[in-house]
């Protein structure tokens, strides 16, 4: 096989209490990429549709991830990459992660899977480093593994796959405002009270248990963030109203996706997820901010061949 076309899912990271450790992959929105083996060494981005992004491999997240892959590989050739960018950069649903993860997953597939998924995460993290100066794994891991993933540790990298209950849905609204990851990181505190930290890790334990025990109510009770959301939500106009409207419409919980500005809600069943979406829309229509909305089942397999 010399060419493969893949779907690279959008992802929600920083899931409420799970700041920097918990992410989840979506099914309804993602980039499409074509990756092709070439005799010529190196990575060439040959086509980018949907967004105006750098074509030079060293300046493109998929290119940088691909170069990290090539650097570790014994393969003597190179790859061409075409990107149909369907996830808007800066939306907070893992736009850079999808392209980075998609590139290395497709390359690995074309070479007969010499690398483990965890190793692919480390290559894709180089794309994240280019995008946000931090080589975080909480978007690329769920993009590659599917479902929920827990980054238990970075040194060494330890990724724990966590299967979502079958009826869990995500609704995500992306208000068309700009919040830079680097800015939203700067406003966070570097120390927190022990008391607050204990509450947070109680909720992380509850959320992981809720997902694995398929206890929707427990998932909902655990979707609480005492640390980051109270600060970052200030940067997102309408956040409190969207959250309240989502809960009123039956959401299990609601929080900031990644570093924002997208807002996610989880729910049991598609009907509730659609209702939540309608209520979220109403908030931004009232305020007068444009938005994209995604209603999605949890992605079970990560990147997939189209």
């Amino acid at each position: 096989m010399n060419e493969v076309k893949v779907f690279c899912p959008a992802t929600i990271a920083n899931i409420s209490c799970g700041f920097d450790v918990l992410g989840v992959a979506l099914d309804a929105v993602g980039d499409e990429m074509v990756v092709r083996k070439t005799k010529e060494k190196g990575i060439r981005i040959t086509k980018i549709e949907g967004q105006d992004l750098p074509m030079q491999a060293e300046k493109n997240v998929a290119g940088v991830a691909g170069l990290a892959f090539l650097d570790a590989s014994e393969y003597e050739g190179g790859f061409e990459i075409e990107i149909n960018k369907k996830i808007k950069p800066g939306s907070g649903i893992g736009s850079s992660a999808a392209s980075s993860a998609g590139a290395v997953w497709a390359m690995n597939h074309l070479l007969g899977s010499p690398f483990t998924p965890t190793k692919l995460v480390t290559f894709a993290m180089e794309g994240e480093r280019l995008a946000s100066e931090v080589a975080h794994a909480d978007n690329v891991a769920p993009a590659l593994f599917g479902n929920f993933t827990l980054i238990r540790s970075y040194t060494p990298l330890d990724i724990v796959p966590i299967t979502a209950p079958q009826e869990l849905y995500a609704t995500v609204i992306h208000p068309q405002i700009e919040v830079k990851t680097s800015d939203s990181r700067k406003i966070l505190r570097t120390t927190i009270s022990m008391e607050t930290a204990i509450k947070q890790w109680g909720n992380v334990g509850g959320l992981v248990a809720g997902l694995l025990k398929e206890d929707y109510e427990l998932i909902g009770r655990s979707l609480v963030d005492h640390i980051v959301e109270p600060i970052r939500s200030i940067l997102i106009p309408g956040f409190d109203q969207v959250k309240q409207a989502s809960i009123n419409a039956g959401a299990l919980g609601c929080g900031i996706s990644g570093s924002g500005p997208s807002i996610f809600a989880f729910s049991k069943g598609e009907k509730t997820a659609i209702n939540i979406g309608n209520e979220m829309k109403r908030v931004y229509e009232t305020i007068g901010i444009d938005y994209d909305i995604h209603v999605s089942k949890i992605n079970q397999q990560g990147i997939k061949i189209l």
Copy 2:
């Protein structure tokens, strides 16, 4: 039924990363109590064996927990309590919790179970308040529910039962030195770095996932405490040697039980648990400190009728 005799398990709280939220019940060590209905109102402690503890209900943890129970109950009579104290007070394996939990569980049983287990936890917490000035739930919850429990939240009290894998064993050594819970709380920091907190909640998520997925290796990798153990272990002579010896003998992980001085190790299978016990003993024999040792399967049901 007018009388019941119960086994009240010892418990390990503050399980490494799970400070203040995770506890587990043991099978091999616990108090025995006889609780009897009386026409006379109030609580009378009629016999205490094994330890020299207050007989006056208001000064005894089982008495105080029992009074909280009576206060909430419509029952017009009272109870007599006999305690055969097999868990040493101050050992760090939930001595006060066992008696507090045992008293209210037995009373509830004698009255046809008018209260939920969670409600019983709130009564038993009053015994904990008497013992250590803090009404913590992380020992009384596993004593009442059995297995592992996560205290997701105190307000409202939300207890998440977490079933342990069948072959999980605990080895606990109690060096005969005194560490007061109140002292060991005072030396803790009241603020922590965000970076350390993130590592800690990554491990809490990993530990909960490891238990529910029956992934012993993941349990082991997650039994890490970046916050409390480095400080409290200073109060426990031989801690580092015991930990190293346990890991060398095949322990999945090792940490401080409660606020010490007991040290626990988890392992897969009884044989490894016994070996770990032998290596732990050797450390304290070399140092010249007396000890008690317990090798125990995880308790599956909490308090049980004898």
